[in-house]
Subunit: 238 residues, 2 copies
């Protein structure tokens, strides 16, 4: 193959990889909006917004299918190896987690619809709101880490996930107490519990994405490890 | 390349693909055992069995990591295209869902540990047991469909998932009634709710795997579709 031609192909391939990275970030942006919309609908009791989030899931699904297709195309036509291969397979996994974050946003929006019809508690879902803020921040940091392929930022997300888990456990205990003290709140509190669980799951998926980032940058599979072991594996390679 | 040599390589590649399929089925077998162990622990109050399931998750995770690695190796070294490429990427997705079924089994086992310390209800978790049987059957059928690359059996799983969802909804309503009628049951019923939710999620992941089977056999992405649309897409191609 003439050098010019091969250079041209490699530039085009580079452009394709850039393009797919931007599309993942665009998908991440849509998913972030879905999560914040669902939380706003829940806290303010805005049923219309909740319905928007539910119907908006179609956009997330479409992005999932089309980015997936693009990755398979690249694997078939470009037959990437080494770091390019890791990038493509890492993206395949990343969009699966982003799509599932979208599903959890829909679950929260469904709870928001339920809760919009019920009496609102005095504290107006303050604890859930705080957990939602925390998880949204974590998702945002994950997407930032992806944009910059920043391994340290990805590790930071894993740390945050542990805080989110602790916050979630404490909310669960509190909600359990509410129900026991006033059984009339049961139905509302159960909806709040499902919402808290969805937020906790969004934290887990964000952590998964941060593991994919470490994999695609460093070539190290750090899934199923504690944060301490993750750090050791990553820092040990420096 | 001499014909003999290229034939040799293609036979070896064929063997690798066969090997990876068997390993996915082996992983499926481990995951099935985890789910049935967790359900038995829950229904019988067997805390030791619950602890076994929780520690057994490490095996599932190891299989996930090592099959994943094997898939990436095949992509890098064999650069498969067409149906071979679909097989490898379909397997990558399948093991992600199997691994998450393993996580749900651990969640059920944790609830089993909680429940083992509490008074047992008269009906001894009959409804949960029935849902567990249903979901275990669905997982088994999914793995069978994978073993035979049977698209019709995969479609059948999607149908079953709808029944599982309906059964789950009905259990949830029932559990809610228990709590409201007798608030002293709240703590136990919440654990039962989480277990039911995990079973429902295992149904979802089984359905995901059946979608991956349809993709890798037929080359059609049927995710995010209703069962009716899935069937149309699959049958329309005949």
């Amino acid at each position: 193959m003439a050098t010019n031609q091969s250079q041209h192909i490699s530039q085009q391939f580079e452009k394709e990889l850039q393009d797919i990275r931007s599309r993942v970030l665009a998908m991440g942006g849509v998913v972030e909006k879905q999560v914040s919309g669902a939380m706003e609908a829940l806290v303010t009791g805005d049923a219309d917004l909740a319905r928007q989030v539910i119907s908006g899931d179609e956009d997330v699904n479409k992005l999932d299918v089309s980015i997936d297709e693009e990755c398979i195309q690249i694997l078939a036509l470009r037959q990437p190896t080494a770091s390019d291969l890791r990038l493509v397979t890492g993206i395949l996994k990343t969009i699966t987690d982003l799509e599932r974050i979208g599903d959890e946003a829909v679950r929260i929006a469904r709870m928001a619809l339920n809760l919009a019809e019920k009496d609102r508690p005095k504290k107006n879902y303050r604890e859930l709101h705080a957990l939602g803020q925390h998880v949204s921040g974590m998702l945002h940091n994950t997407l930032d880490a992806f944009a910059r392929f920043d391994v340290d930022a990805a590790l930071q997300v894993a740390h945050e996930d542990r805080q989110v888990d602790a916050e979630y456990e404490s909310i669960m205990r509190q909600l359990m107490t509410y129900m026991m003290e006033d059984p009339r709140t049961i139905s509302r509190v159960i909806d709040m519990m499902w919402s808290a669980r969805s937020l906790e799951r969004i934290g887990d998926h964000s952590r998964n994405v941060s593991e994919h980032i470490i994999y695609l940058v460093e070539g190290k599979d750090v899934r199923h490890l504690t944060v301490e072991k993750m750090e050791k594996v990553v820092k040990g390679g420096e």
